[in-house]
Structure formats: structure tokens, C-alpha cells
Symmetry: D2
């Protein structure tokens, strides 16, 4: 299981909820804020196509491609995913044209879970973002298996969102059970 | 009227549709790809709060604050706004805490128009993004006055989307008429 | 082309916009308010399955199945389609189990257009309904080809929504051109 | 607490999940399928306005108005609420114009919870319906306090949706605790 952590803050609510979700499960986590990801330059229609970029994107993508299950975790920033996560996903357009990666072939079929943490109204205001992730999954041939929307603004607050914690525990138990079988 | 152009490509479909929309109208345009905007570091809950950042954000924000009408123009990248535009808007969280800007006071009441250009299914797949802009406007006390969803992938293709062009012309005519009154 | 008119009011804004859309085109129109459609009784899981219902449903469905293009026209009532239209669509669950109809086989591939007329904010508040129609089309294997959201509350008001009228004219011209070819 | 049950089937999944949610709590439940509710005739713009209708609507509305908390429970039919529930809510337009009811004054401030049960993908495909309920609540000045989306098609299946059951238990515990205080 591969955790793509889009939070801009260490130990923030999004990380706390993701930890609850993945307790006792072997995961590989990348915190996007610790990597250098350049905004995409749209060269789809230039004669030369996309030019190689010197940053950490390839390393991240190759790690991601080795897993069957992805957890996309992001705070709800302005009713969308964090800018860092958006920069990462925008670059998938370039990955799709890098034949050495076989990006689409290796992404399709992956199981995706989404973790979003926002303010008190996030259970409603995050729905457009869930829909966006659904579109992304459909485009890539991945399945959006589930999502959890947590509520928390001050540090640690999400741990008091009993509904989100319960949902995390249910998913966690399902995963552990599947791992045992 | 202030055009915030989120396109990553010069002369791309998003720019073409925006030009049609604003033909003959006095506008100030910023192309976000020409500016340096640093991803937000979430320091809302640190003792010192947000630290000053050396980039072009303040210049952009001060230009924006001088206008009553904003056009947010973005290609539909992965069913959301472009990463560049997301970086820009994410930083509004920092602006909200910079008392010298009076950000919220000066943003509220602004009239917002949204231009989105995506692929052939964009009229449906862009709806989550429209909803996101609606939430953003509500949070800032701005009014989402209208939006246009254009369809075009290859360079220039959006000019053949008769429905989008017609919508642009109607809005353009309304604006010119209002300017004459 | 088959117009399913969900408006509860004769000559209302939804009918006016639909007329503009279909001017000069041969259509068959059913006004759902003139038919008797019984709410579905969910008998999917009873031993006997769905029982025959004495109302106008079968007549409507057989007319609908003879067309390749459907226009679903409804006022925006409480941010959804009208109750009459919902009663009609709910009964499709029963049609799906009536083998004499070959409902799914004959519905799939149909081209669907949606017309919605609501209040001044309808361009945003009707988006959930557009999404719902998209889901319905996907489930039935139909394609949602386009939609128009008009704004109008008082009788005739939608005719002053220049954007909606322009969109209707563009679609109308496309249809006429296709018919000439 | 007032339960408005929109299910068309006795003992179906929507009722089962609602029972779990409200276990041990004093509630008044109306099953809309047991009442006669006439589709609205839109007479907003006629000289005489809405004409009185002989059905069970007034009885239902008066019962509803006596409660501070509403639970709107519906199966997901065609990605929306059931037709019966839509007929009921459509008639609120008439209630708004019946001055004897003081409908808006008495509805505003109510706390609303939504229960939706659909098929295996309901956690995503029901989101447009959640958004619709959000719009309805905003229009009426009510607060959408929470929602649960359950998955179940065959009778009893929703009881195996551990995530939905956990969410129901959390809300139930919150309500009981609030009642004890």
C-alpha cells in the first residue's frame, strides 16, 4: 500500500487520520512536501513533445507504480486537493507520454482510497473533490474503493471526529482481514 | 476587469476562449505561468504564524485587489484547475492572515466569472470544478456571476465549440452594454 | 426526437425554452402532467416480482423506445427534476424487468439532451441534477450529449436569458444541419 | 425527532439502516408510501394562486413542523430521492404560500440528517443527491447536520455495510448523549 501524503504540515490532521487508517499495516509513505515537483509545462502539442524535467517526479512515480493500492491523502484546501498534490497529479499527463514508464498500463486496475480532512462542513464541501478523484480514477482505469472525510482544523482535532475515526477503523479492519487471508 | 490566466500554454484554448470573452473590453491580464508562486507552507498553527515569502505573490494580489471583477481562466487538468492556479489560490490562506492586505474585506463583493476549457466531455466533467469555484466564492463573499465551459484539446479547437463561443459573445455583449451605461 | 416534458405548468418557462430548442424540427412531445403515472412499488425482491400496473406508463415507454434522441425537459424543483418526471423514471426499474419491452437493449445508444429551467442561480444549483442525469445515462448506456440550463421564474422570463437562448439556437442549428445531411 | 421515510418497500434496507440510526431514541416516523400525496400543480403564477388539495399533505406537514430534528431517509432511486419523497418535497412550494402554516418560519433552524441507501457504488453516485439536500436545507434555512450513505440491494444487505453501520452508531450515540444532557 502506497500513501501519497499531500499535507503541507507535519503531524497535521490529515496525517493523523491517515495513520489511524493504516495502523498495523505495512505501507510506504511519501510526503509530497519533501519532494521537488515542478509544475507541468504543457508541451503536448509542441513538435518535440514533453522535455525531461530534473526533479523528483520519476522517483515518486516509480515507487507508486510498484503498488496495487494507493491512498491519496490531502487536506481540503480551498475545497480542492492541496496544490502539492495537484502539481503531482498534473504531471501524470507527462508520464502518460513517457513510453518507458508504461504509465497507463501499470496504473490501471489499482485500488484507490481517498482521505480528505477539512473544516466543520467538510462532509459536504469536500464532495466536489471526491467527484474529481472519481473522474481521475475512471480516466486511469483505477477503482475508487472508498473515501473518508474527516473534520479538523486545529492540530489533533480530527481525532475527535468519531464518525471519521470509526470509518477509518472499519477500513483498517477490512484491510487487515484481507491481508490475513 | 482582472484576468487570472491559469493556462500552462501560450495561445492555448483557454487563452483563445478568454480573448473572445473579453474582446474590446479593457482588461488587465496576468498569466500565472510567468510568475513565481511558492506552494503554501501551512503555518497557521505555528507560534510565529506565516513567514514572509520571497516570490511574486504580493504583486499579483495587490493587482487583483484593485479590480471589482475577476475572470478565473483555467484549462481543466485532471478535472480540476491547473496546478499553477491552485498554488495561487492556496496562498490566499496566507493573505487572509496578512493584516496589511485587508484581504477578505477587499475581496468580498467582487464579481467572479470562470472560464474552463477541457476535452470533449468537459461540459459534464468540469462541473465539480464549477462547484469548487462556487464554494471559494461563497467563502470569500464574492459572487460567482457566470461560467463558460469550452471544449478543445488541439490548438485552436475551442473556436469551433459554437456553444462556448456563443456564451462568450453573450457575456461580452452584456459587459460592453454595462460599460456604456 | 422525443420530448419528455416534465413541467407542471402549461406554457411555462421550461416549455418555452424547449420550443426554442426544437423550432423547425420534427418532434413528438409528451407532457407527463397529462398522463397517469403511478409511483413505483418496489417488488424487485418479492416472489412474484413486479405486478402489472394499470396506468399510462406502457404507452409512454413504447413511444419513447421508438426514438433515437430524447430531450428530458424539466423545471428545477427543489434542485431536482419535477416529481412527475421522477415518477416516470423510477418506473424504468419495472420496465427493466418486463422482458416483453427489451427496455435496456432499446434504450442503450440513445442520445440524450437535458433542458432545465430554474431560478436566478440555476446555472450553479442545477449542477447536481445534471450529474444525476449523467449517472442515469451511464447506467442505461445512453450518451448525455448536452444540456441547457435556463433561468426564469415569472412566465416568459427565460426568453430573456440570452445565454440559454443562444445555447438553444446553437443546438437547434446543429440538429437541422445533421437532418439535412 | 421526525423520520420521513421515503422507501417504497417495507422492511427494506433504508428502513433497516434508519432503525439502527434511531435505536433507543424516541421518534415519530411517517412512511410516505402509506399516505396520499398529490403531485404539485404549479399555480404560483395564476390569478388565484394555489388551490387547496384534498390529500394527506397537511397532516404530514403539521406533524413535521412540531419537530426540531428531521431525518430524511430514502433509497437511491435513479441517483435521486424516491419519487414519493420528491412529491412530498415538491409540495413544500405550496406550503410556502399557505400563510396559515408559517412554513418557512417554522422550518428554518431545523436540524436535518439524511439517510440514503443505494447499490455498491452509492458512496460516490449518491453525492449529487447529498448536494441536492444541501441546497434544499440552505433554501429553507435548515442545517444539514450529517448524512449516511449505505450500500445494499438485496433485503438486509445494508446491515453488512460495516462503514454505514458504524456511522449510524456514532450518530446514535451522539444523540443519546445530547438527550441525557
Amino acid at each position: 500500500m502506497f500513501i501519497i501524503q499531500g499535507s503541507a504540515r507535519e503531524g497535521g490532521n490529515t496525517e493523523l487520520l491517515t495513520e489511524r487508517l493504516t495502523q498495523g499495516i505495512e505501507v510506504e509513505t511519501v510526503r509530497l512536501r519533501e519532494y521537488d515537483i515542478t509544475p507541468i509545462v504543457d508541451e503536448r502539442h509542441t513538435a518535440e513533445g514533453f522535455q525531461p524535467v530534473e526533479d523528483d517526479m520519476k522517483e515518486l512515480v516509480e515507487a507508486m507504480l510498484n503498488h496495487d493500492t494507493l491512498v491519496l491523502a490531502t487536506p481540503l484546501y480551498w475545497y480542492g486537493m492541496s496544490g502539492q498534490m495537484k502539481l503531482f497529479i498534473d504531471r501524470w499527463s507527462q508520464c502518460l507520454r513517457d513510453h518507458s514508464l508504461q504509465f497507463k498500463e501499470r496504473m490501471q486496475g489499482k485500488r484507490v482510497y481517498v482521505v480528505i480532512v477539512g473544516g466543520p462542513n467538510a462532509k459536504v464541501t469536500a464532495l466536489a473533490l471526491v467527484q474529481q478523484f472519481k473522474h481521475i480514477c475512471e480516466f486511469m482505469g483505477m477503482t475508487l474503493e472508498g473515501y473518508i472525510i474527516g473534520r479538523g482544523t486545529k492540530p489533533g482535532e480530527v481525532l475527535h471526529d468519531a464518525e471519521a475515526i470509526a470509518a477509518a477503523q472499519v477500513l483498517n479492519a477490512n484491510w487487515r482481514q484481507a491481508a490475513d487471508e
